[in-house]
Symmetry: C2
């Protein structure tokens, strides 16, 4: 058992493994965004770091079909940061929150060796909250957008290259409109943050799947995509595809849920530890 | 303006400067607890680190007279930690949560150079929620327990000494019973986390105070005490003192709120930056 699985196993009595926790009418989600773990300072501008920290947190709420309303911001900053760098970082955080109608209601600031951004998002649960592991035998499995671009961007940066400002690695796309329309016809959803090869087993739980799409290694492995992985019953296929079209969201069906095991290529999955 | 004040000034439209945020029937609070900022690994055992991370977070809720119920845990851990160290850290977190009736409902785990614990506490607001800056002219100002022990503990550790397992620096006392009984007769409250010299101005806002108690330099400066700073009207003095006695809580009246400035000794206050 790796270390991350070990920590999660301690909380199995409490955690359902979903992107957020539903409590009454609200969904609570929390993600850490840490320098040299999730980003390097030379890869992203301070404003981009702030914006991405917010987007990856909102992604959890969107994946559960909740509407983000409030945020608590924990910010730990190195002492050597200049005032204009702090202003740019905060600018990225505040403008991205504002754009998505999220008010920062509290938080904590302190120093640290590395830029550490911890956001807690409080979201209003909508009529139907979506969870992982709810897909049934025969349901279609699909993902939004394209997979692979985030890892391509990361590799370019790791090799000392530059990437476009609108690169998926810098600025994830949240599929808010598609989720709003299609949620009532979806069975299960999560966001793809650790790569499809790592996230699909979490999505299916104890079920298996027959994967009919041909996916490349980079599509299986690319993490931090923040695209949606969804499941829907065959009878809703036409509706879900129509909502994708209406909201100009590319949707790729990769296979169907079945009993037994999930056979996926044996790539080394991304691990935090 | 120092860097922490600069960050906070960005949020003044949203933040009231209180320990937590009241939203409907719930109080939300969030504190970061970071290695080499708030503790060193050689000072506290892994279990003590986990326990203190929870206690300093619960302290915010208690100071507002809210009852902690749920927590979201963000945990970033260095790769070199051994499994038994992770188990001990989690043990400290889980047992302290359990002792205070708090369920962990979600969170995030990742790697980091330094142990980083970010907790968000969701608490039920009780009949009366207490805030900072609500004291009126003539109100008495008092603190619970003793001040100075945390800084004494810290200094001993910094000098290579050892301190008792029940030292205030290792294990803050939360004044839960005193708060429960006396909240209805208090005007204002906060916890003392940055030292009285730093926290008293935040407690008074634009008001001043006449400090009649003789306090030592260490009493003014000792941070991370997590004792309560409270204000109450003269007509409630006897009641508040009676509640302190009933709950075996030492309560020291240090002065009264007045118009104008607060004159406190010019010590260099503790700053995170």
């Amino acid at each position: 058992m790796d270390k991350e699985a070990r920590i999660i196993s301690h909380f199995t009595h409490a955690l359902n493994g979903d992107d957020g926790a539903l409590l009454g009418d609200f969904v609570y989600s929390k993600d850490l965004f840490i320098e040299n773990v999730h980003f390097k300072r030379e890869w992203l501008s301070m404003e981009q770091i702030g914006a991405k920290a917010v987007l990856v947190n909102l992604s959890d709420a969107i994946a559960m079909n909740a509407t983000p309303l409030f945020a608590l911001l924990g910010l730990a900053l190195p002492k050597e940061l200049e005032n204009d760098e702090i202003d740019a970082l905060l600018g990225g955080i505040l403008s991205t929150c504002a754009k998505h109608g999220v008010s920062i209601i509290g938080g904590d600031t302190t120093s640290a060796d590395k830029i550490t951004i911890s956001l807690t998002i409080i979201s209003k649960a909508n009529k139907k909250t979506l969870f992982r592991k709810k897909a049934k035998i025969g349901d279609f499995i699909a993902f939004t957008g394209s997979l692979g671009l985030s890892l391509k961007g990361l590799k370019a940066l790791q090799n000392g290259g530059k990437i476009a400002r609108n690169s998926r690695f810098i600025k994830p796309s949240l599929r808010i409109e598609f989720m709003k329309k299609s949620a009532k016809n979806l069975k299960s959803a999560m966001d793809i943050s650790d790569g499809l090869a790592n996230d699909l087993p979490k999505f299916l739980g104890k079920k298996g799947a027959k994967i009919s799409a041909k996916l490349s290694k980079i599509q299986w492995l690319s993490g931090e995509e923040y695209e949606l992985l969804v499941a829907f019953s065959p009878k809703n296929k036409a509706r879900v595809l129509a909502y994708a079209k209406q909201t100009r969201t590319k949707l790729t069906i990769i296979g169907q849920v079945k009993n037994g095991y999930l056979k996926i290529p044996k790539y080394r999955a991304f691990k935090h530890f």
